[in-house]
């Protein structure tokens, strides 16, 4: 028990964080006191990760302040992406997080500490402290990270931030974690619990904070929420999206069918939805790789890919805008293996006009463009080809509203000409424009919706686990 029991562990006062023009967090006031278990929920891009990063000090606020009345020590984060050193053992990873563990016999101490912490959180875990992290399953690695978060490490944990801690744990182990969190808070610890499993949030949280568009839209004791009320609070106001679903041609033959059950017909716009990181991107990448070759590139590609993670999957950073647009169609327009530069330049000019790339000169480096305009370049790259299948991996990140409308129209027009679109999006509004939607959860398809079934409610319902955590 702390001495100043009532002082909050962390308090945010009108804290904001901007990334360029994007307001990831827009004036959030929030405090977490000892004994609190705060459930933090919100849809993709609501600002959850930004909030976590402000609290754990990855970056500071653009405005407002973040204070720790009792000092910042004892504030731990368990990250969603795994942050262990895979080449070290479980006990050695504790050593990384606990620099004061020194001297002869540190290994024994580390082993004892991590074993004790694992035993406390996950009784009967069966994890050997001397096992190399590489050799553990994803679930075991997540358990180790959580155990390191709760381990004393020379002091004691006062606030533990758990970001989707159960995403790779099975139900029984998740239940162990929930009961440990409950006990930890009852003993005066504080937890921020972020999860897409609403049942879990209700099971542990004493208070629930709902984030939407970088703001807190609800902050009430958990008992004051109902499930449907919570979903409503997270969702957008219903848009007029449904109205646009006129003028669609009849879909043709099935052109795509994956072992996972994903199916698409000629001329169809197929949406992939669900919360980020539930296997949609991996499914699309697999699909694309199976349609194209490492060794040959014919004059006309079967499929093209529009990346959403631009630095990783899309942009060729050393090149000009022009070269970034033309890379996928070079073989088609080439003469005797040489690039037809006149045709290349014509094509780029045409797409610059059609999709509205804001630049004076297509020879400018691609990185001189804003994120949204870079994204347009990637669209142009794909749409300029003749490929029958266009695979889009959340391609609208950082694109402004006007452009989005233009691109939607373009996609519709191209689909009407017989192209097939597979479109993963984290924005439900976009998915609602599709002819058919597959909702993913935990790497598998949890629902297939068509026509009038495609509504925000249905998609949210299928994205979140509604059952009680058992």
């Amino acid at each position: 028990m702390n001495h100043d029991d009532n002082a909050p562990v962390v308090a945010l006062t009108r804290a904001a964080r901007h990334f360029g023009p994007v307001k990831a967090l827009d004036g959030v006031s929030l405090s977490v006191a000892p004994g609190d278990c705060l459930g933090l929920v919100g849809h993709n891009g609501a600002g959850k990760s930004t909030l976590v990063n402000l609290i754990n000090g990855t970056f500071g606020p653009s405005a407002g302040e973040v204070t720790f009345p009792g000092g910042a020590e004892g504030v731990r984060s368990v990250f969603q992406e795994l942050s262990l050193c895979p080449n070290l053992t479980v006990a050695e990873n504790l050593r990384i997080a606990h620099p004061n563990l020194k001297g002869f016999g540190w290994r024994r101490a580390a082993r004892a500490e991590i074993r004790e912490s694992l035993d406390r959180v996950f009784p009967g875990h069966g994890i050997d402290p001397d096992a190399e992290v590489d050799s553990l399953s994803i679930a075991q690695r997540q358990m180790v990270e959580i155990a390191i978060g709760f381990a004393p490490r020379g002091g004691r944990a006062r606030l533990v931030i758990l970001d989707e801690p159960t995403s790779s744990l099975d139900a029984g182990i998740a239940e162990q974690l929930l009961s440990h969190v409950t006990g930890f808070c009852a003993a005066g610890g504080a937890v921020i619990f972020i999860s897409h499993m609403l049942g879990e949030v209700f099971a542990v949280a004493s208070r629930i904070v709902v984030l939407k568009d970088g703001r807190v839209v609800a902050d009430r004791p958990a008992d004051d929420f109902t499930r449907s009320g919570l979903v409503d609070a997270m969702g957008h106001v219903a848009t007029e999206a449904v109205a646009q679903q006129a003028a669609r041609s009849e879909p043709g033959a099935v052109v795509i069918h994956t072992p996972n059950g994903l199916e698409a017909r000629q001329g169809e716009v197929v949406g992939l939805s669900g919360l980020a990181g539930h296997g949609q991107a991996a499914e699309l990448a697999r699909l694309y790789f199976s349609q194209t070759s490492d060794w040959r590139a014919g004059r006309a590609a079967q499929a093209v890919f529009v990346a959403g993670d631009r630095p990783r999957d899309g942009v060729l950073p050393l090149w000009s805008i022009l070269r970034n647009i033309s890379i996928s169609v070079l073989p088609r327009d080439a003469k005797r293996g040489l690039v037809d530069r006149a045709a290349e330049s014509r094509l780029a000019q045409e797409w610059k006009a059609r999709i509205g790339i804001r630049t004076d000169d297509l020879d400018n480096p691609i990185l001189s463009l804003s994120g949204g305009n870079q994204q347009k370049v990637l669209f142009a790259r794909a749409l300029a080809s003749d490929a029958a299948v266009v695979v889009m991996d959340d391609p609208m990140r950082g694109v402004d509203v006007g452009t989005k409308q233009d691109v939607y129209a373009m996609i519709r027009a191209e689909a009407a000409k017989g192209r097939t679109f597979l479109w993963y999006s984290t924005e439900t509004e976009e998915v609602c424009q599709c002819d058919r939607v597959f909702v993913f959860r935990n790497g598998a398809i949890s629902a297939e919706l068509t026509g009038a079934e495609i509504t925000e409610e249905r998609i949210l319902e299928a994205s979140f686990e509604m059952q009680e955590a058992s």
Partner: protein
Amino acid sequence: MSGFAKPWLWAWIAAGAAFAATLGLTAGRGAGELAYAAMSFGAFAAIVGMGQMLVITLGPGNVDLSIPACMTLAGTLALKVMGSDPGTAWLGLAVALATGLGVGLANFALIWLLRLPPIIATLAASLIYQSLAIWSNRGLRIKPPEGLADFATGRMLGVPNVAWVALLLALATWVMLERSVWGRWLLASGQNLRAARLAGVPVQAVRAATYVAVAVFAALAGYLLASFSGGAALNMGAEYLLMSIAVVVIGGSSIAGGNSNVPGVLGAALFMFLVVSMLNSYGAGAGVKSVLTGAIIIAIVIAASARRSRP
């Protein structure tokens, strides 16, 4: 391309400065001889350097350490086949190029089939090529056919023939990189292999072709060097391992890949020879020459990284 610095210019300026500094000492005497020597010796460094540049363009981790062994092997095999008989120069060239093709395919097979890191694959394979060269070279000291030797040491319009060869090759490489689809594919793969693959580039084919290209370039350099110096020697390629990497870096290509620079390699190849001549004419010992060479390489890398992080 506007907005881009011209990194190749620096290599040429440095080469010019070294040239001037050397002549400054002799008050301009021997300019012709110095230029001839620089272009002759620079030609070999330029040819292997361009090959190494193509591989380094493929991105981090890609480098060919078998260049010296490939040069030696191609040189010895070619000379052995020619056996000093007149009129066999083309046959020898064909043998040398075929050797390069074989070496390149073998290297890539190790990299691709056994998933070995390129450094270790080309290193291990180079030991085998070296043995092949020793075996085929045993005790024989074969002179190149007279016509070929005359060609390799001769000059045309005042420029050494080997320099013409290097220039032609540079032109071809430049056209390949800047104008052809393959060049675009290579540059794209080096910037971001995954993004290139997702843009439809057949990345494995590009990698294979590149490893073959570097070996063929090295083989050609070996053939010319053996003809130039009156016979193949087992250690004739030794100095070209570090040299090939150094001229790529000094020439302004990025070691991180995706960016290559043909004129820069040519300038750097001249510079590497001229800086040594300059230090020679100023009476510097071998030690000082080497230290300064190293210091220059590091200074250029630091300057390049400063340029990279400025925007």
